[in-house]
Symmetry: C2
Subunit: 414 residues, 2 copies
């Protein structure tokens, strides 16, 4: 039997939902607006997208998005389509054109969101997935259990290489596991990539030589392909253990090529995710989106954080993190590490752990570490101890009784 690709959508339509489903299936496969002689029943049966499921949810009397057909009633439903792999082969870029192409612009559509994706085995054969994932990241960072306690260099941009290295010195001396460039920090003339990496790795390597613990630093290599390769090579040559790339900025070809070249984990940033997801009636859920990038090789994937400072709900954050930890397919888990950030402190540890049932993640805090009255080391320790409490199922206040750093942190975290 032929392999098929399955995609699920939340659809709102002013049309008869069955007709709308057929139009979408047609537009994204063999169809056209005008009936053409070449579109035979045999061709449609072979190459047409198939409506696998159409479940009505509710009706509303105004359309969520403008520009579509006018109607008295707009029906919301769950739509599942499938395509034969013969249409375009096991290709992620062409998968994108098919499951997330022109369909959002159809007049029959007054709301459309891609909510799910199920891929056949050919995709796992065609794409490598993460080279390091959870196990590789734990091995390189030396963090054998619990989350990697991390932070982001701040201010995001503006520090010189030496100022950056000075901040990194405080952090590694404080026992941090993971540090990342902000996604806005790239290769500006005020903080050139090469100088930054050399200055930072000097500090990281010195500390590692002295203590045996090497913090993982995700240097933002985002750029044109030659730049990314060259920057990766510099990171590697300087003893670095991670590179970061902004997925929406480099695109699928960018990540695929970086994955082929990289010898360290790829920390994948989702900047721009908001324009693809902030309208609940349009765009992408995180689950199908992150699956595509994991196949292409992302080792770490940002998922925001509980009670974050952005607009995303906790429910959505947890769904995203669960998606990153779920297998891409049964025989090809390709598990990546979710990265929690944005307004994070130890106060989110217990709820995050309870929701995921595991601590295979990176938890980054900025103010939650730097703001500690006893300094950065105490900030790192407090966040780590909050996770110990979470994993052991001990209430935070109780665990704080035997840990002064955590006790002090509770005051300013709240």
């Amino acid at each position: 039997m032929s392999e098929r690709i399955h995609a699920t959508y939340w659809l709102e339509t002013g049309d008869d939902p069955r007709h709308a489903a057929d139009v979408i299936a047609g537009e994204q496969s063999s169809g056209t607006f005008v009936a053409l002689p070449g579109e035979t029943p045999e061709l449609k049966a072979r190459s047409g997208a198939r409506v696998e499921r159409l479940e009505m949810l509710e009706t509303v009397d105004t359309p969520s998005l403008p520009g579509g057909m006018k109607s008295e009633v707009y029906t919301r439903c769950t739509l599942e389509l499938s395509w034969p792999i013969e249409n375009f082969g096991a290709s992620l870029p062409n998968l994108m054109s098919t499951i997330a192409g022109n369909l959002f612009e159809l007049r029959q559509v007054s709301g459309l969101r891609l909510t799910g994706l199920k891929l056949p085995a050919s995709f796992a054969a065609a794409y490598p997935g993460p080279a390091f994932g959870i196990d590789g990241t734990r091995k390189l960072s030396g963090v054998t259990h619990g989350p990697l306690i991390g932070t982001i260099i701040k201010p995001s941009v503006g520090l010189s290489p030496e100022e950056t290295a000075q901040q990194v010195r405080e952090l590694v001396e404080g026992g941090i596991d993971f540090i990342k460039d902000d996604e806005l920090q790239a290769d500006g003339s005020h903080c050139p990539f090469d100088e930054r990496v050399k200055a930072v790795m000097r500090v990281v390597n010195e500390h590692a030589d002295r203590t045996g613990k090497k913090a993982m630093v995700a240097f933002n290599v985002t750029g044109d392909l030659d730049q990314m390769r060259r920057r990766h090579d510099l990171v590697l040559a300087q003893g670095g253990t991670c590179v970061m790339a902004v997925l929406n900025s480099i695109g699928l070809v960018g990540l695929h090529e970086l994955r082929k070249h990289a010898q360290v984990p790829i920390h994948a940033h989702r900047a721009g995710w908001g324009y693809m997801s902030r309208s609940p009636e349009l765009g992408w859920d995180y689950a199908p989106w992150q699956m595509i990038w994991r196949l292409a090789g992302a080792d770490h994937l940002h998922v925001n954080g509980l009670r974050n400072k952005f607009s995303e709900s906790d429910e959505s954050v947890i769904a995203a993190a669960r998606a990153v930890l779920a297998p891409v397919m049964p025989d090809a888990p390709m598990t990546a590490m979710p990265v929690f950030s944005s307004g994070q402190t130890g106060l989110q540890a217990a709820d995050t752990y309870a929701a995921l049932g595991r601590a295979d993640l990176i938890h980054t805090a900025g103010g939650g570490i730097f703001g500690h009255p006893q300094g950065v080391a105490a900030g790192v320790e407090a966040l780590r101890e909050a996770w110990v409490a979470a994993i052991e199922g001990v209430p935070l206040e109780k665990h704080a009784e035997r840990n002064p750093a955590l006790r002090a942190a509770l005051g300013f975290w709240k």
Copy 2:
């Protein structure tokens, strides 16, 4: 004086707009949610994004997008920000992270759309722009004036290579200038890329040898980088004169690399544009988006068409086409060719020409050509004659009096 990057947004906020503007500027440059010791006034002055303009437009009492801060009133305004180029250098991927990164997710934002972009000269020095553009496309296609009359192979997928070539035979014998693969047609096992190109180019070359006219065929090379390069080389070896790529599917690195490799024009498809633009209160206007892709090397850019079958308004279509024809910057025009499609016939020629004042474009019609009662050649001739009438300022009905193909077309176009 330092070069600066300017981006303009339509913003809706439940916050004091001045505060919201500062938060956005901070988030996308030196800021953080928590005041940090490193963010000195000197650093802010040097590296902070600057609020250049903030103009109130109106207020509404419900937020356009959910998840943001609650308020009694939401203010809509025009916001212009600028960044010093020292922050990230003349890099398109890092430009993306900066102007269209995390800001869409901010709680202060209940609507945000990137409406304009102005780049400094360094970007024109760092990126090549289209290698062919309008002049190169005219030269290769032999169409010295007026639009390239084009069509898209339909059904989109499902035809075999030989069936595709058969359709191409009808089209080239009908005098067509331009043919493209559908964006869903890639390298599926039922219509493998190599076989399709060979079968189609055999027909195109035979016709060119006989008549001197070689139709430009945009073969969809969208795929991983090695695949795109290899497919491009095959097109070139077979005498082809154009390749097509789906921008959102390959990403900026993909187009940049394809541009470096390609020896024929790159026909850029915007499939997926809907999820970035269909909500008026979120995402991207076409003007800033297409500018980025032109810098990276797109020769042709899709702009939908007047009275199209999708949900886009005519006003938006014309704004998009004007943007593609406008210079990227005064000393680096990098002009690309807009591609009109979707439900197009000769009936849109006059309005399209009136709105643009020029015919440096590709006008593709499917049913508008294939549906002609006298056959494909008459369909091509009718569309071309509709453009002659438009350019000469002659009413279509009047021009049809001396052209039987156009006269017959008017019946079925309406």
